[in-house]
Amino acid sequence: MLAKLRAATFEVLETMFFLFPEGLEEDELMPARGPFLCSWVSIIGPQSLRLGMIVPESLARKMAANFLGISEPEVKQPELEDILKETTNMMAGSFLSKLEASSAFQLQTPHARWLSPGEEKPKGPAKRLRFDVDEELLELFVERES
């Protein structure tokens, strides 16, 4: 499952953002400075999941600039959240396609919010993937949704 999610991540970042992520090992350190933005989307089905992403503002700004074809200072704050929601949505859609999941699995509306200091640190039983994207940390998580 994580291999499919990794492939979906590469596909979305490369195609829509011209960014080329490198996977990080679990114990590999990658400094990251906040504030951090988190977006997530629920996948409702026989086994409901939540797929999400955490990135520092600097990476969100770079992604938005690449996505919209504008310079980083031109990116407006609400666009950061919108872009990240779209990204998570695309990753989830690509992930479901790669899994060949049945239509019983339905994507829900994506959400985004800024994290409080320290909230970005991993906790809970979620499965995580970490990437180095232009020397910035991008973290994905997948967790069961009750």
Partner: protein, 139 residues
């Protein structure tokens, strides 16, 4: 011949991206119209001539499925080609739309040339042919 395009997506940034991609693809665009959901799209159609609709699936108020059903009820609007731009490409989800008369779909993430190829196939002549123009454009 210039074509009038209606983009229907609840994400403003996605509408902006699609519009930008259309521009760099070299389409002869007449007018752009944008709606955040099916209801807004229908309101635009009441007062404007549209040659092609690019629509998302999941939208609040009126989603893509409801929009296509409303278009099919109308004597004129039923002839406007609709292309879905969606994160969902699973056959179980897409096939019912194709059966409803949706011309084609484009899965996000997409490349500019994909949009160009699809629309060229549907609208035919009048498209720019310089593929290098797309490849070199940093949108």
């Amino acid at each position: 011949m210039a074509y009038n395009v209606l983009i229907v997506d609840d994400s403003a940034v996605m509408r902006a991206l699609i519009r930008k991609v259309l521009v760099i693809s070299g389409f002869d665009i007449g007018q752009y119209f944008e709606g955040a959901n099916g209801l807004e799209a229908l309101a635009i159609l009441e007062n404007n001539w549209v040659d092609i609709i690019l629509s998302d699936l999941h939208m609040p108020e009126m989603n893509g499925a409801a929009l296509v059903k409303e278009l099919n009820k109308h004597e004129v609007w039923r002839n406007i080609p609709v292309v879905l731009i969606t994160t969902e490409a699973r056959p179980e989800i897409i096939n019912p739309f194709l059966e409803l008369g949706v011309r084609d779909y484009i899965q996000k993430p997409f490349r500019p040339e994909t949009i160009k190829q699809k629309l060229t196939g549907i609208l035919g002549e009048g498209m720019a042919t310089d593929a290098g123009q797309i490849e070199s454009c940093d949108f």
